[in-house]
């Protein structure tokens, strides 16, 4: 028998290879670009700046929601309530702002000054976030059940307030301003600018702050995170409040843009937000993913819808095309990640 006496030499590690997350994000970006170029070949007039801008401006709402949803997913929690919150805050802002003496129930509101009305509507939205946090953190109910429930509760309240329909009369002049404010003399509106700001802030939080890090740790292993001194309850509560606040603002802006509080607004948006996050490489089990990935996940879907519209395809084809595009994007991701980690 041979016994070698040397101890393996220690090496200092400094170089960091491209992390899995950056890798996936890069892939998603490439997939989005490739899809855009393909569409440009197939659809007349597709390759133009305005069309690229549309991809973003058309989807500001769902991308904004995606930010909150992504953070929660990374922390290992779902938020399916955002679509409902969009409807709720929009309806509330209208109801609060409608003047008091209307001809019928749906044209009679509380007559609050506009800014008080939207502040209260935002509070209403965040109450749903608080409810999410309460059930998830305090009662330990799985987030998917909770947020499915609060989604229905939020939309349900909106439906009760609008009798299942909408409120759009008796509104003060300034109600339509925020959602229709053109910025810097371009065709870009305030909501889109806010979305871009939100993304920048989110990326900073995600990459550079302790708060962002904690989100990953909680998502990777909630028990270990708690035992490592991270206040999980507080963190998850912040995330839910954060997500519902975003959804609340989105709802208020949409209500302002369309000058109506519509109880079916944002229907299925929670799913769109989930899909773009997953498409952007966020792991459904938590602990992995990025806001930038989510953003480009949204772009992938937007390219498909936009191209289908340009071709005036019937909805039947739209569904099929969307399925194929998502399938390809996901297969490439899964395959590339597996190869890399083999």
């Amino acid at each position: 028998m041979t016994i070698s006496a040397q101890i393996p030499p220690r090496t200092e590690f400094t170089r960091r290879r491209l992390g899995d997350e950056a890798f996936i994000t890069l892939l998603v970006v490439l997939a989005a670009v490739a899809l855009f170029l393909t569409a440009s070949l197939l659809v007349p007039n597709f390759f133009q700046l305005q069309n690229m801008i549309n991809l973003v401006t058309n989807n500001w709402a769902v991308i904004s929601l995606g930010v909150g949803v992504t953070f929660l997913l990374v922390s290992g929690n779902f938020d399916l309530s955002v679509g409902g919150v969009v409807a709720l805050s929009g309806v509330l802002s209208v109801w609060f702002a409608q003047s008091a003496g209307g001809a019928n129930a749906l044209s009679t509101g509380l007559g609050m000054p506009y800014f008080l009305a939207i502040a209260c509507a935002l509070l209403g939205a965040m109450a749903i976030g608080g409810l999410n946090a309460l059930f998830v953190v305090r009662f330990g109910v799985p987030s998917i059940i909770v947020t499915l429930g609060t989604m229905m509760v939020a939309r349900g309240i909106a439906q009760v307030i609008t009798h299942g329909s909408q409120r759009n009369t008796n509104l003060p002049e300034e109600f339509g301003v925020l959602g229709n404010l053109y910025m810097f003399g371009t065709s870009v509106k305030l909501p889109v600018v806010l979305m871009i700001l939100l993304i920048l802030i989110a990326v900073f939080i995600e990459k550079k702050t302790v708060f962002g890090r904690k989100t990953y740790w909680i998502g990777a292993n909630a028990v270990a995170a708690t035992l490592s001194g991270i206040d999980r309850a507080k963190h998850i509560t912040y995330l839910y409040l954060f997500s519902s606040a975003i959804a609340g603002v989105v709802g208020i802006l949409l209500a302002s843009e369309f000058k109506s509080g519509f109880s079916n607004r944002g229907m299925l948006m929670e799913f769109d937000a989930l899909v773009i996050a997953l498409l952007g490489g966020v792991a459904i089990a938590g602990g992995f993913g990025s806001v930038v990935g989510m953003f480009f996940g949204a772009i992938i879907l937007a390219v498909v819808t936009s191209a289908a519209t340009g071709l005036v395809l019937s909805p039947d084809w739209q569904f099929t095309l969307k399925a194929i595009a998502v399938f390809l994007a996901i297969v490439v991701q899964t395959w590339a990640l597996a190869r890399r980690n083999r």
């Binding site: 059930f135 009662f139 330990g140 109910v141 799985p142 998917i144 059940i145 909770v146 499915l148 429930g149 609060t150 989604m151 229905m152 509760v153 939020a154 939309r155 349900g156 309240i157 439906q159 009760v160 609008t162 009798h163 299942g164 109880s263 799913f271 989930l274 899909v275 997953l278 498409l279 792991a283 459904i284 019937s314 909805p315 039947d316 084809w317 739209q318 569904f319 099929t320 095309l321 969307k322 399925a323 194929i324 998502v326 399938f327 996901i330 297969v331 899964t334 597996a338």
Partner: protein, 344 residues
């Protein structure tokens, strides 16, 4: 030799047993409570079993009849979720099956062959899901969102442009028998579709309790690595379960299609959410491992009773709020109770 120390039978044991009892049977209490509330809700206007009140024959028949698709789906969906997987495409698979079944029927294929062929289509749809998830290793949520879109797209493509569903017209006529399966009372005034739903549920209860598939599904959902290292072919189990869900989606599609006398490519829209609602209400763990077919069955009855029962009681726009609140309350009480049961 001294008594081993490990399991301490504390004074909390009795509380624990009560808690466990509550946990195991809570869904039945919820059911009874819902029925009771709905039955007394408009006693001021109608007496207990009178037409107009909840507990009248017609109402009960209606509820059970329209519950058939949901009941059919809930059991298989429960098993799939117990194994830690999910199928968001059930609604679309159901729509596609409804369209296929109606297409066959309207083109002169007799009942039995049309029925069998549609079920076969269901198997194929489920198998495709299984393939994406097991072979291509795509996250179940994504994989089945893809097929949700795909199956719906195909269902829409199978229906002519400018028409909403497969129905009589353009020289074709739905055969007279088409409506019987989903509507015509065969036993206790309830149609075949309902009895098939019951049969499916019973079979799945047995599958869950008495067969390898049932046990392996729980193992796969509870601890996939352990299951694999124990020599269980988890991929195969999952694949089979997706197949079963596909079959039930087809059965649900046939029931719905027959009930409505048409092949509507949107008839299953949103069904995935309803089924998830039901299965979660029944106490199935989203993360897998836990869940009972029988409880999902009761949960399906609860949801359908609520939706139908409320129709004449309150304006329709209260429905979402009531069901959402019910889900939250049920889930919270279930989890609080079951946690008590565990910590004892």
């Amino acid at each position: 030799m001294s008594q081993p120390t490990a399991i301490s039978q504390g004074p909390t044991d009795r509380n624990g047993r009560i808690a466990r009892f509550l946990r195991d049977y809570y869904i039945y209490f919820v059911f009874v409570a819902v029925i009771a509330v709905l039955s007394v809700a408009n006693l001021d206007q109608f007496t207990l079993f009178e037409r107009g009140n909840f507990l009248n024959k017609y109402n009960i028949i209606n509820i059970l009849r329209v519950s058939a698709p949901l009941i059919t789906l809930a059991g298989a969906f429960t098993l799939l979720m117990v194994s830690g997987y999910i199928d968001l495409s059930v609604g679309s698979a159901m729509s596609l099956s409804a369209v296929v079944y109606a297409l066959l029927a309207i083109n002169g294929v007799p009942f039995l062959p049309a029925f069998v062929a549609t079920v076969a289509v269901g198997v194929v749809l489920g198998t495709i899901n299984g393939f994406l998830v097991v072979r291509l290793k795509i996250t179940p949520v994504i994989a089945t969102l893809i097929t949700l879109s795909l199956y719906k797209g195909i269902a829409l493509l199978l229906v002519q442009d400018g028409v909403s569903a497969i129905k009589s017209g353009g020289g074709l006529k739905m055969p007279a028998w088409f409506n019987d399966y989903g509507r015509e009372g065969v036993l206790l005034s309830l149609p075949m579709a309902f009895w098939v739903a019951i049969l499916v549920t019973l079979v799945l209860i047995i599958v869950q309790k008495r067969t390898l598939i049932g046990k392996y599904a729980a193992a796969t959902g509870g601890n996939p690595t352990a299951a694999k290292l124990s020599g269980i072919k988890t991929g195969k189990i999952v694949w089979v379960l997706y197949g079963i869900v596909g079959v039930t989606a087809a059965l649900a599609g046939i029931a719905r299609s027959s009930f409505m006398s048409l092949g509507d490519p949107l008839s299953g829209d949103g069904m995935e959410l309803t089924v998830i609602l039901v299965v979660l209400l029944g106490g199935t763990a989203f993360s897998g491992g836990e869940g009972r077919v029988s409880k999902s069955f009761v949960a399906a009855l609860i949801i359908m009773s609520l939706t139908v029962g409320m129709l004449t009681l309150v304006p329709a726009y209260y429905q979402t709020l009531v069901i959402g609140s019910a889900l939250l309350l049920a889930a919270a009480s279930n989890h609080i109770v079951s946690k008590k049961g565990k910590s004892s």
